[in-house]
């Protein structure tokens, strides 16, 4: 059945992780590549996201770390000459790129076949007007939207529809530039923004309060159709599905509603002509069977990744095969392996997806959630009751919640308002409202959340009230304890409700656990088998529940398995890189003859693909659940060092409970994690570190600052609002921060460290065995210290370090490795000024940059580390990093455009949502590739510079000269203008927003899109500077103009695009750089 002419295909990836486009596309791309490989088809991948699994050795045959843009894709097509291209697996980025290539006739020119859904069908779904027309043809109701091309027409359309209306930018990622408008004023300001993303803006009637329902549909070229899964949003329409809690399958639909929408979905998909996978979203009236189709995504999406994990049906894999011409009946159900892929999974559990936000990382950001996406990750919880699933999920999001109840009290000023205007805290506001005596009806009225969900949440509250009445575990009846566990209560929640934190919660939690086990109340393991137990399935896809009495799995107890703890929800600071680490650790474990067991709950990941391990527990990474699994599995040991901070934090507790932690001991991990222990160790080893103190009074803070001098880095242990860390440059700033933002006391000490300016930041990623380093990679930040290492642009191998500096760094790393007797992965961060080296941080686990250095070196550090940890022999890599005759650059991706009002400035707290890694023959080429990959464009003509302090102005001088020589027009604000003129660089003066009477205005030029690149370096923290700078920066983001806020990065970027053009960039695949 397959198209035999296809010998080589090109797959477009989605690039760096960003809000609205995250790890789900690594999963779908990897699946598609696997499907191609199985057919013996050669695969070429373009994706600059070096931390992904799909860009690993053996997944694709050729990998290009290049921007997914029409220019670069065409170059790769020209070079590789594939016969087919896959556009549906790299999110909106790949789809948009594909549509553009199609329109430019590139596919025709190179005789390239688009596999799967034809491009015309994609365009029919992407262009709203075409879409509505298309569905009108088959009498399917859509949200009638008025496509407009200017603001006047937008106003007219809104007036005719009546407010409230929703506006969206056409062809935009997950709702970018969209929102609700209650009146004309809001409409004008929002449509201005929307027009900056797209020439077409859509005005629609708002259906706020309707249910939001989705169907995942698969169709083959013989017109056979199935709906693999449907999903229902807990939050009604008005909140982007990426911002909503979602359950699968739908819970409040009757048979007739479920099948009405299912039948429509199939009708739509047939009419559009999808081949492969697609997603249909509906608005559904809660008081009748009326509906509107919101949109159709003619590609794999976040929802399809969720649906794959929710059902066990590998949508991307199947879609890829259908693209090759297979029929659904040709393919097998990959879980049962006996029944066909033409079927619709029957679930016997409920899954609950909950978004993870990180809004507290951003200054000034609006906390309200709505029609545009802000969340950075998500979790999926599986249970056999809604209460169980949602309580699990609320623990999984990893923001300190223990479930729906028994959390730290939150302060809600106006509950009614917070219920009506939801924020990222909505679910906890509902909990609070129940505590305050609100009824289900009241909450429903304010939130429009279906009462069924609210009733279930109230069950949890009622049970918690019953437990609260109990004084000690002895008077806790089995029936109540069982019910609580069936409703997803953790031992901690039960302990807190009974003992009310009067005794150490760790102790009472342990008491409850022991008591519970004595009473025989333990969870059971259930399989996810796609057919609700109708057919026997050899599935290794598992979860735990208290709503059951029997295990599906027979345990061998042979101690031949190794558990790997995954990384949990993607968030700022921990994302796909730890998935790569987890997957590679599992692979190595399995290659060495052990059974690899994974625990993780992130539906966007490859590590939660049940093909990746011998057993997958899609469940919590809490101490309680990990121990439950440990007791069932009886493994040889556990790996806690490849999943980032969550497993790392569990190490000590697990070790104390008798878990065999493989590799570096828990005690050593604790020595590196505990600030005091680590610091005194460094002192003992005579290793320098920035001076710091943990202090409990303001007076002590000031006297310490007298010694070390400003600026200082301040880290309060208890934060009232805003950022958790701050750099303070003078007394007033320090006072302001400590008085307003934090609370200094004996109970909440503050850590103050000296902050060294203009120092280089250097990192070492390494693997050691028994305290001896076996592999290492030293890399250098482009930016000076002060920019979080997760936001910094990293260069590897370092190009500008003194030999002496690297020698000293190696020496220090060796000492630390020896002292902590490290066996496994670790990372140390250093400050260097001249050859003066200070250690700032040390993590005895894999770091964010492990995939980057592993791939640039082509030495898999995780494979080595895993072998060390399980005691397998390995070959010590002989080649030194300095032998590389190319350069790798890791650049960060920011998602400020989605975070309304957030100040797009870099600081000591991390703000980037993703990264790319590109390789070039020299720094310039690598920088240019990397910057283009994270969305920068080479400016055409006009550049706006406001360059901060005199030091930063000087830093930019060479670059500014170059720009001028290259014929760029420079526009500069006051001080920067003066500085440029003084240095004989022609520039035009533009005025700050605080000086509105003079022309030209910097802000206006941005709004009129007269500027191609904005370089805005924040100078200091005075109010007027902050406001001026903020307005410029924010406008750049809102009007989609590239912005750089760091002088050293700006210089590096400018020098790179002045030294070479886009056509000078070499189209070289990964293996062309690395040849032995």
């Amino acid at each position: 059945m397959m198209d035999k002419n296809i010998k080589k295909i090109l797959l477009l990836g989605s690039g760096a992780l960003k809000i609205g486009e995250a790890g789900e596309f690594d999963y779908s791309g990897s699946q598609a590549l696997k499907a191609m490989k199985e057919e013996g088809i050669e695969t070429v991948l373009i994706n600059p996201n070096i931390a992904t699994v799909q860009t690993s050795e053996g997944v694709a045959d050729k990998i290009y770390f290049l921007p997914v843009t029409p220019y670069f894709v065409e170059q790769v097509i020209k070079k590789e000459k594939p016969q087919g291209i896959l556009l549906a697996f790299g999110g909106q980025t790949a789809l948009n790129c594909g549509v553009e290539l199609y329109k430019n006739g590139i596919f025709e020119k190179y005789n390239l076949k688009v596999l799967g859904t034809p491009v015309q069908a994609i365009m029919d779904t992407e262009d709203r007007e075409l879409f509505v027309k298309k569905l009108d043809q088959i009498d399917v109701k859509t949200i009638k939207s008025h496509a407009v091309e200017n603001i006047e027409d937008a106003i007219k359309a809104a007036d005719s529809l009546g407010y409230p209306v929703i506006i969206r930018a056409a062809y935009a990622l997950g709702g970018l530039g969209s929102g609700f408008c209650d009146n004309r004023q809001e409409l004008i300001s929002l449509s201005e923004k929307a027009f900056s993303y797209s020439t077409q803006v859509l005005v629609e009637k708002s259906l706020k309060g309707w249910k939001e329902i989705e169907y995942e549909v698969v169709r083959d070229r013989f017109d056979n159709c199935i709906t693999v899964c449907n999903m229902e949003n807990f939050d009604p329409l008005g909140i982007h599905t990426g911002e909503s809690i979602v359950v699968a399958p739908s819970q409040t639909l009757t048979n007739s509603e479920y099948h009405l929408l299912r039948e429509l979905a199939i009708k739509i998909v047939r009419h559009i002509g999808i081949i492969g996978e697609c997603n249909v979203q509906y608005a559904f009236d809660p008081y009748s069977e009326d509906y509107r189709v919101i949109e159709v995504n003619a590609r794999l999406s976040r929802s399809s990744a969720l649906a794959s994990k929710a059902t066990g049906y590998p949508l991307a894999f199947v879609a890829a095969k259908l693209g090759l011409g297979y029929a659904l009946y040709d393919l097998k159900n990959s879980v049962t392996k006996t029944t066909p892929a033409f079927f619709e999974p029957a679930l016997d559990y409920i899954v609950c997806k909950i978004p993870r936000w990180d809004l507290s990382k951003f200054q000034g950001v609006s906390r309200e959630i709505g029609s545009s996406m802000k969340s950075v990750g998500e979790v999926m919880a599986i249970g056999r009751s809604f209460e169980e699933a949602i309580q699990k999920g609320l623990r999984m999001i990893g923001q300190g919640a223990h479930g729906f109840v028994a959390n730290r009290e939150i302060v809600v000023e106006d509950i009614d308002k917070s219920l009506r205007e939801p924020t990222d805290n909505r679910i906890f506001v509902i909990s609070k409202a129940f505590q305050k005596g609100y009824t289900v009806d009241q909450i429903h009225k304010l939130t429009k959340i279906d009462k069924w969900f609210l009733d279930k949440l109230q069950n949890i509250v009622l049970t918690s009230k019953e437990i609260e009445k109990i004084e000690s575990k002895e008077s806790l009846e089995d029936n109540l304890l069982k019910r609580a566990k069936r409703e997803g209560f953790s031992d901690f929640q039960i302990a807190r409700l009974i003992y009310k934190d009067k005794i150490d919660p760790d102790l009472t939690t342990a008491m409850i656990r022991t008591h519970r086990k004595e009473r025989g109340i333990v969870p059971v393991v259930k399989q996810i088998d796609t057919l609700a137990a109708e057919y026997p399935a050899q599935t290794n896809y598992l979860y735990l529940t208290y709503n059951g009495t029997h295990n599906d799995v027979n345990y061998l107890g042979d101690h031949k398995s190794i558990i790997v703890l995954g990384s949990g929800a993607y968030r700022i600071g921990s994302s796909v890189e730890f998935d790569w680490c987890s997957v590679n650790a599992l692979q190595t474990i399995r290659e060495c003859g052990w059974r690899g067991v994974m625990i993780n709950y992130n539906p966007e990941t490859v590590s939660t693909d049940y093909d990746m391990c011998d057993r997958l527990y899609f469940d919590e990474l809490t101490f309680e659940r990990v121990m439950d699994i440990h007791e069932l599995e009886n493994p040889h040991g556990m790996v806690v060092s490849v999943g980032g901070q969550i497993p790392n934090n569990l190490a000590l507790k697990l070790d104390k409970s008798g878990v065999n932690i493989l590799g570096t001991t828990a005690e050593s991990i604790d020595k590196a994690e505990d600030r005091h222990k680590f610091s005194s160790m460094l002192d003992r080893l005579k290793i320098d570190q920035p001076r710091w103190r943990e202090l409990t009074t303001l007076k002590d803070v000031f006297s310490f600052v007298d010694i070390v001098g400003f600026p200082v880095l301040v880290r309060p242990s208890y934060v009232l609002s805003g950022a958790a860390m701050n750099v303070c440059s003078n007394n007033s700033e320090l006072e302001q921060f400590l008085n307003l933002a934090a609370n200094v006391s004996k109970k909440h000490p503050v850590v103050v460290s000296e902050f060294i300016q203009n120092a280089k930041e250097i990192e070492i990623d390494a693997v050691a065995k028994d305290g001896e380093i076996v592999a290492y990679a030293i890399s250098e930040h482009i930016e000076f210290a002060g920019v979080h290492s997760g936001d910094a642009t990293i260069q590897f191998p370092p190009q500008k370090l003194y030999v002496e500096t690297t020698r000293r760094i190696k020496k220090i790393a060796r000492k630390i490795a020896e002292e902590l007797n490290i066996s496994g992965p670790f990372n140390i961060q250093f400050l260097a000024k001249e050859n003066d080296i200070k250690v700032i941080e040390c993590n005895l686990r894999a770091s964010r940059s492990f995939p980057f250095v592993s791939k640039v070196l082509k030495i898999n550090f995780i494979e080595l580390a895993a072998k060390v940890m399980i005691g397998e022999p390995f070959i010590v890599p002989g080649k030194s990093a300095f032998d590389l005759d190319y350069v790798g650059i890791k650049a960060s991706q920011f998602s400020f455009s989605r975070l309304q009002k957030a100040d797009p400035v870099l600081g000591v707290d991390m703000a980037s949502t993703g990264e790319v890694g590109c390789i070039g023959d020299d720094t310039n080429e690598a920088i240019l590739k990397a910057m283009l990959s994270v969305g920068y464009r080479i400016p055409k003509k006009n550049i706006l510079i406001s360059s901060g302090s005199s030091k930063q102005k000087a830093d930019l001088l060479v670059a500014s000269k170059l720009l001028s020589q290259k014929g760029y027009n420079l526009f500069a604000t006051g001080g920067s203008h003066k500085y440029l003129i003084e240095n004989n660089i022609p520039a035009t003066l533009v005025h700050w927003p605080s000086d509105p009477d003079n022309q030209p205005q910097a802000l206006q030029m941005i709004q009129q899109k007269k500027i191609d690149l904005v370089i805005n370096i924040p100078k200091n923290l005075t109010q007027v500077e902050l406001e001026n700078g903020y307005k410029i920066r924010r406008a750049s983001v809102d009007f989609n103009i590239p912005l750089i806020t760091n002088a050293r990065l700006a210089s590096a970027f400018i020098i790179s695009f002045c030294s070479m053009g886009i056509e000078d960039i070499q189209i070289k695949s990964w293996d062309e750089y690395i040849s032995y």
Partner: protein, 356 residues
């Protein structure tokens, strides 16, 4: 909170599951079967094909959207599949005490009470399903503590069709063409599907001699239990096979038509009861997701020489429909009328109407 009596589900093989009683507080017995449908309990419970059976629903959350009001239009229930609940007992995991839906008027619990049907919740329905899958459908009983049943009723020993079929002729709809519908336990949606296509439906009891009636097409309905009890019906169908008028059968109708054509049926280990059964039309690329509810199947190898399989189950290869090689006779084992379940195959009603 809700006070619910402890209850136990006992299986014929000695296995026991502890839970709590809901619905009508009474012990009950029957054949325990499972369905993997995720929606549609009001439709399923009123499906006459479940007569004599205790139904285990594998989807754990049940009762979410309550039960709608039973409105009759032209002698037909608008929301249900018959006049009453036909299952003898209901086994679930997690019951939603409070429901939420605009068209609901009562809870599942209340409805079961009204129809004197017991239910049990808090059961590990997945484990129960695995037992039924491995050991086959078996007899069982739900007992309240202190209220045991001495023996267990075996519905397979009784003619269930006779129990659920209408007792006299009922007419529905109007149109130029007349269809005789042999009621072996017909679901109302079958009648709705026919009537809305503009034909008159004459519903007759399972053992009625319809051959004397004037009609354009014959329809043989679904129904519960063992088809071997319906020898009378089969004999009448044999007469119809001598003629040229169109015949269409669903579920039990497929089995009876096959038997009239000379084929044999057998009892499946645990039956097909779900909304996700894949079938393929023989000699084509066309596949459909179907709603099914049957414990017996037609043995393909015994089909008479004039007959051929029309659909095949893609999971286990069993027969899902037959057609006559030359005459306008066909039938399907699945439920094209759905309700509950997917509606992919409703076109078969159109096909039938075209043959009249």
């Amino acid at each position: 909170m809700h006070i619910h009596k402890p209850a136990t589900l006992h299986l014929e093989n000695g296995d026991e599951f502890r839970g709590f009683s809901f619905g009508y507080d009474q012990s009950v017995d029957g054949e325990v079967v499972f369905s993997t449908a995720m929606v549609g309990y009001p439709e399923s419970l009123t499906d006459p094909s479940y007569s004599g059976q205790i139904l285990c629903v594998t989807y754990p959350l049940v009762g979410n959207y309550g039960v709608p009001e039973d409105i009759y239009k032209n002698n037909l229930s608008q929301c249900f599949e018959s006049e009453k609940i036909h299952v003898r007992g209901l086994v679930i995991s997690d019951y939603s005490f409070r429901y939420s839906h605009w068209n609901a008027v009562k809870s599942l619990d209340q409805w079961l009470k009204e129809h004197k049907v017991p239910g049990i919740f808090g059961i590990d329905t997945r484990e129960l399903t695995k037992i039924l899958r491995e050991k086959g459908s078996m007899l069982g009983k739900i007992t309240l503590d202190g209220d045991d049943l001495k023996s267990i009723y075996d519905p397979n020993l009784e003619n269930q069709v006779a129990l659920v079929s209408c007792k006299e002729i009922i007419r529905y709809g109007s149109g130029k063409k007349k269809i005789v519908l042999v009621d072996c336990g017909v679901k109302h949606n079958i009648i709705r599907c026919l009537v809305k296509r503009g034909v008159e439906v004459i519903r007759v009891p399972w053992n009625y001699d319809f051959t004397k009636l004037e009609y354009d097409g014959l329809f043989i309905s679904n129904g519960p239990g063992n088809p071997d009890f319906c020898t009378e019906t089969v004999d009448y169908i044999k007469v119809a096979l001598q003629q040229e008028r169109a015949i269409f059968g669903i579920c039990m109708g497929n089995q009876l038509l096959s038997m009239a054509g000379g084929a044999k049926t057998f009892k499946l280990k645990y039956g097909h009861r779900s909304h996700n059964q894949p079938v393929r039309m023989v000699n084509s690329d066309r596949c459909f997701i179907t709603s099914q509810n049957h414990g017996y199947a037609v043995d393909n190898s015994t089909l008479g020489k004039d007959w051929e399989p029309l659909f095949i189950n893609m999971n286990d290869g069993t027969n899902e429909g037959i057609r006559h090689k030359s005459k306008p006779f066909f039938s399907c084992q699945f439920h094209p009328e759905a309700s509950s379940g997917p509606t992919d195959t409703e076109f078969l009603f159109d096909d039938f109407i075209k043959l009249l």
